[in-house]
Symmetry: C2
Subunit: 195 residues, 2 copies
DNA sequence: GCACTGATGTCTGCGACTGACGTCAGCCGC
DNA sequence: GCGGCTGACGTCAGTCGCAGACATCAGTGC
């Protein structure tokens, strides 16, 4: 007989997701989430630094997928090529089986400005992490930031498209196309904006 | 004899800036800010939706500067050219006289994750607004988002460079160079990442 | 057995924010 | 010039997010 059920954080996250979906984010208190899985509010805040964070539990794995993609890029790859590699690695983190789950999770986030703010922050911190990794490869400050932020933008756009109701393509395919569109866009401008 | 001094929001912002700089953001309560200018906490929250927002009072003018730049771009301009125009317009919003003030304000923001989160959110909402304006010009969904987010990234990088201690160039000049670097980066990749 | 650790509960308090309601100068129509 | 209306503020009371301090006790190692 164990004193506590294991996996408290996971149970809290699952319960939070359900409660947010039914009652809404603001109408759900941390105490309710905790007690619905037999824990107290205090324990909730031991696992998550704030109430919003419960929705982002596990994101570290996505960050690591990005970094793995950076590391597997060939040594002579240009910054954007490295980012393309990171995108391919990161997108494989979302197989089609996760699509439905991602959709419902996203619909909660989209409904609450505070959650969108946190989501943006998470994306930005991924970009920062990727930029650091690029700098370690010798890419200069500005180029590293530009490339990493562009990658994050491409990821966000592709993800948004991936969870649309009528979308069939894989996230990786969509991301590759969006990146291609970015290159097309800038190429068109490059000819017309002189030094 | 007037019942209240005018410009409550401005006075609150000024007081908040000073208190945050001396005591720190978390160590300053909304009540303290309000009472330091002869108002109550309740009035503080009537002017600002939350405590962080007091630092971003007036940002609407920056958004309008971006939009003005979008509107003054020639009708046949490519999306990135429109963004370049928006950047030139927005950067003129920060003449060199504002550099010192921007620096001290930024040092407060940089010290508190919650404030950085809000700042990111503001930047993202600027990008969203610019993307909407691009769409109204007939630019398609993905291209509009990509161009607008790229513009926001360029702005953020340029702004960060502009407030460095040893920096002498104008914000507009820095932004133009950063944008040029983005085009160079993507051009290099465009040749090597096939369709 | 026995000390030690780590995840949890309990208690308590602060501060961010909100809704409801009261106040009163200035403006506006008559 | 008078009465009603409005808008900016104050007052009061409440909820909830979040954190510090300390107690509890199953499991683990010795």
């Amino acid at each position: 007989m164990v004193r506590w059920e294991p996996g408290a954080a996971e149970r809290l996250q699952k319960a939070a997701l359900e409660l947010f979906a039914t009652r809404g984010f603001e109408q759900t208190t941390a105490t309710e989430i905790a007690e619905s899985v037999g824990l107290t509010e205090r324990t909730f805040f031991r696992h998550f630094s704030d109430k919003r964070e419960v929705l982002f539990f596990g994101q570290q794995l996505l960050v690591e997928a990005f970094l793995a993609g950076v590391d597997t890029a060939p040594p002579d790859a240009s910054p954007i090529e490295v980012v393309a590699s990171a995108l391919q690695s990161a997108t494989s983190f979302f197989p089609d089986e996760r699509r439905a789950h991602s959709r419902s999770r996203q619909s909660i986030i989209d409904q609450h400005p505070a959650l969108r703010e946190r989501e943006r922050h998470k994306l930005a911190s991924i970009a920062t992490t990727v930029a650091d990794a690029l700098r370690r490869r010798g890419v200069d400050e500005v180029a590293a930031t530009l490339a990493a932020e562009s990658g994050a933008t491409v990821f966000a756009i592709a993800f948004g498209q991936w969870i649309r109701e009528d979308e069939q393509r894989s996230l990786a395919d969509i991301a590759a196309e969006v990146l291609r569109e970015l290159l097309t866009l800038t190429a068109a401008a490059s000819a017309r904006i002189p030094r």
